[in-house]
Amino acid sequence: MKNIKVSKLSFTLIAFVIIVLISLQLLNGLKIKNNQVPRKSTNKQVSYTSKSLGVFFTAPEIAKISENINTITIDINDEVIIISRSASYYDNVQEHVAYLEELNNYTFDKKEKVNENILMTRLGDMTMYFQKIGDYVFSISTDYTDLYEDLESISYSLK
């Protein structure tokens, strides 16, 4: 009689653990599925002022924006755009980018002058906008092709 009770209890426990595991797996699956749905484009933008980098820009309303030391991270559906800042010796952004290429031992695949202060570059999957503001050059970059539109719009709004 006692043995039967133990078996029942063990069975109940094992069943409970299996149910919990299956539930977690299902939830995870739903989450993955949800991420696979393309983000609906939204025109609604919000403005953001960075205290640490002293800049202003607009980003999609759904973006989660956080600031670290000398870096702003814009998270849009778990894909990120990063803004970073560096002081520059140069008066124009083209020279600054050439300086980076020389010191960091690479050549951008593509360099496209957007205007006097903005240069769009590409290296592998990474797209990067360099923008000269005062004595600093800000770079706005992403590895995610989904975010190219947002990247462009954020770069243009950066002041």
């Binding site: 202003f56 010796y89 300086y99 002041k159």
Partner: protein, 735 residues
């Protein structure tokens, strides 16, 4: 079962104790030590003339603060080369009758090899007791005649001696406590640390800072990117791969010709090469060295590669330039390259810690492990690993920046206990406020005159406002309130009617009084202003006059009477110090009986409780006659006192902090009553003074270790006995 458990426990303990002991040893925080070389120059090369009336050709005293470490006398600052010393050389610790070392050079025929005098260092020549040591260095003729030369037609006998240095290889505990400030004068531009610390043009590359070593290259996956201190992500858009320090340039306010300042006190040396240009290297005496590259030719604190010099905190050591290898080439590439090296192998030499001792003064603030700290590589036939970076700036990087919106705000600076209360619409758009506490103002300048009777009450505050584009804002559209909440007890020594808030605009020297209200009961002082930048509370101090001490000498007893004027405002005399002849300074309490020789020099001074310190006075007493001489104020005695040519020891200077001198008349205002002892100034002597030498490992750690070892031995013996009796806990358990 209980017995079996007991035996089992003993058995297990006997097996485990060695491992437990080892574990405890590993867990005990080990103190690390480094060696700092401190060089004292005794003499330059010189000619010593033989004087038939005295065997002593030349002598000098050198005072060495010493606690531990090897001390060597040699002809070079590295303590390695022999020295020509004439016929006979002697070095005496703490006076000519104490421990000594004498070298006979056979009438100058041989040179003296580098001489290790560690065994005579320390007080009472204890050879390890620790403490400051005065070394008497003497050159003797030893009845040798020397080389014959003619000086202005007169025949003289001369001995040529080499330069002589005392080299102290001071061993001390490495400290990772923050100690650095930024290496240029950012404050005079009205900036605060948090504003400019992150305005670098180039970062320290945590993956990997190998720039200084041309033979070493980064792995391919790291050679086009950097990892800055705040992220473990590889950046290709930051400057620049392999960089081993920080570059600060125009954007930081570090412009061509601006002052480069010592980031902390230490011993500076000079170096030049085609990469670094003019470089100053400062050993901070705590296991860290800072380097400042590309300095201009102007105003270098030192330009002799073979010398070193003591530099104080924020002392100018050069000017920002573009010497060496800079990009962009020429003046456009003006910047200061600042790097920090840790003496990982603790041998006092920093060059052999490049690159593995290179550290980032911002520490490592990224997620996970610092890639540099765990990077293993071979260099110069030695396996190496990158260094751990700890945050070394004295100032906190997290900004004291606050945002003021058109809604208004009440912003507190807790350091000065100041609140700035901004009403609605004081600003039209968001404004950043950088608030910093400033120390009490020592030299109060009003209308271009230093006001010796006006002093700061508590700390002050500095507020800098800027818009989102970095433009400075100095005025607001509406007035706002600056409120100091002080302790009413702080007003006690001030004229109550004189207490007011004063302000100073950015970069100005003069302060201006603001119309203020003062609540003497609550300690609140406030004013309404529409401008910035610095604010402090000042008042007229009641007593700024130092006391006057008079000495009498009667019946063999010295007595001192001190009067602190004006009597109405005085709160009394704090202390009187007296120095009799060559004795140490002593606190005067009761009349002093003077014994011994007939003639003495007596020095004395007093201070009142308001921190006013009297200038040292000196009188000569003659035991045969009552003294009638007029006191002679002196500041520092270093002259020979009498015909017997014995140099005096130095006198303590009655100041506690040189920064707290209030005015041109050098009246100290500090309330700190501690005395510091000055180091004798011997001509041609270079001393390195500003070091805090830490003590060796704590005694309790040693005791704990010994106790553990004893327990271990007892248990091993006991365990052996159990084994000898053929006892097996396992067998017993299975019985």
């Amino acid at each position: 079962m209980v017995i079996y458990s007991k035996h089992m426990f003993r058995y297990l303990m006997s097996k485990c104790i060695p491992y437990i002991t080892l574990l405890i040893f590993l867990l005990i925080p080990s103190n690390t030590y480094a060696i700092q070389k401190k060089v004292y120059q005794v003499t330059d090369a010189q000619q010593l003339f033989f004087n038939s009336s005295s065997q002593v050709l030349w002598y000098t005293f050198v005072h060495i603060p010493w606690k531990s470490g090897r001390v060597v006398i040699s002809s070079d600052p590295n303590g390695e080369n022999p020295a020509a010393i004439g016929p006979l050389f002697g070095v005496y610790a703490n006076g000519s009758n104490s421990e000594k070392f004498v070298f006979d050079a056979d009438c100058g025929q041989v040179k003296m090899p580098p001489l290790d005098i560690t065994h005579i260092m320390g007080p009472m020549y204890s050879g390890g007791g620790g403490g400051d040591t005065s070394l008497l260095i003497k050159y003797y003729s030893n009845f040798c005649s020397g080389e014959k030369i003619y000086v202005e037609g007169v025949k003289k006998f001369v001995f040529n001696i080499d330069p002589l240095y005392i080299v102290h290889f001071d061993d001390f505990e490495i400290s990772n406590a923050p100690f650095l400030d930024l290496p240029w004068d950012y404050e005079s531009d009205g900036n605060i640390f948090q504003e400019v610390a992150l305005t670098m043009t180039s970062y320290f590359d945590h993956e990997y800072p190998l720039l200084s070593i041309s033979m070493l290259n980064e792995p391919v996956q790291a050679n086009s990117s950097i990892i800055p201190f705040y992220s473990n992500k590889q950046f290709i858009n930051l400057s620049y791969t392999e960089h081993d320090g920080y570059d600060f340039a125009y954007a930081s306010g570090a412009r061509l010709g601006d002052s480069v300042l010592a980031a902390a006190p230490g011993t500076a040396t000079y170096r030049y090469d085609k990469w670094s240009g003019n470089a100053i290297l400062i050993d901070h005496g705590n296991g860290y060295q800072t380097r400042y590259y590309h300095l201009s030719e102007q105003d270098l604190v030192l330009k002799d590669k073979n010398k070193s010099i003591a530099v104080s905190d924020r002392q100018q050591i050069g000017r920002i330039g573009f010497t060496g290898n800079v990009l962009p080439v020429g003046a456009a590439g003006t910047h200061i390259h600042f790097m920090v090296i840790k003496d990982k192998d603790e041998n006092g030499n920093f060059d052999d810690n490049i690159p593995d001792g290179l550290v980032d003064p911002f520490g490592w603030q990224g997620d996970g492990e610092d890639p540099w700290e765990s990077y293993k590589f071979e260099y110069n036939g030695k396996s190496r690993i990158g260094a751990k970076s700890t945050y070394l700036w004295k100032n906190n990087l997290s900004s004291a920046r606050k945002t003021l919106t058109p809604i208004g705000a009440s912003i507190l600076d807790s350091g000065a206990n100041v609140t700035a209360i901004f009403p609605k619409d004081a600003v039209k758009n968001d404004v950043f406020l950088d608030i910093a506490t400033i120390a009490p103002i020592v030299r109060v300048l009003l209308d271009d005159k230093i006001q010796t009777n006006i002093r700061s009450i508590g700390n002050g505050v500095k507020i800098i406002a800027s818009d989102v584009f970095g433009n400075l804002i100095t005025k607001f559209t509406k007035t706002y309130t600056i409120r100091f909440a002080l302790d009413p007890l702080q007003f006690l020594r001030f004229d109550k009617n004189s207490i007011s808030i004063y302000s100073r605009s950015d970069g100005a020297a003069n302060w201006k009084m603001e119309l203020s209200t003062t609540d003497l009961e609550t300690g609140v002082v406030e004013t309404a202003v529409d401008h910035l930048t610095e604010f402090a509370v000042f008042g007229k101090y009641l007593d700024t006059i130092p006391p006057v001490t008079k000495m009498t000498f009667e019946s063999g007893k010295l007595e001192f009477l001190t009067i602190d004027e004006p009597a109405d405002d005085s709160i009394g005399v704090a202390y009187t110090y007296v120095k009799i002849g060559n004795d140490d300074w002593q606190l005067y309490k009761n009349p002093i009986e003077v014994n011994g020789s007939d003639k003495y020099e007596i020095q004395f001074y007093s201070a009142d409780f308001d921190g006013n310190v009297e200038t040292i006075k000196s009188e000569i007493i003659n035991k045969k006659q009552p003294t009638t001489s007029t006191p002679t104020p002196i500041t520092n005695s270093k002259q020979l006192t009498s015909d017997n040519q014995q140099p005096t020891t130095s006198t303590p200077t009655p100041i506690t902090n040189s920064k707290q001198l209030t005015s041109d008349n050098q009246q100290p205002t500090t309330k700190n009553k501690q005395l510091t002892t000055s180091i004798p100034e011997v001509k041609g002597l270079t001393t390195n003074k500003d070091y805090v030498v830490k003590t060796k490992p704590k005694i309790w750690l040693k005791i704990l270790s010994i106790i553990i070892i004893i327990i271990f031995i007892i248990i091993v013996i006991y365990g052996y006995k159990i084994k000898k009796n053929n006892f097996s806990p396992l067998k017993n358990l299975l019985k």
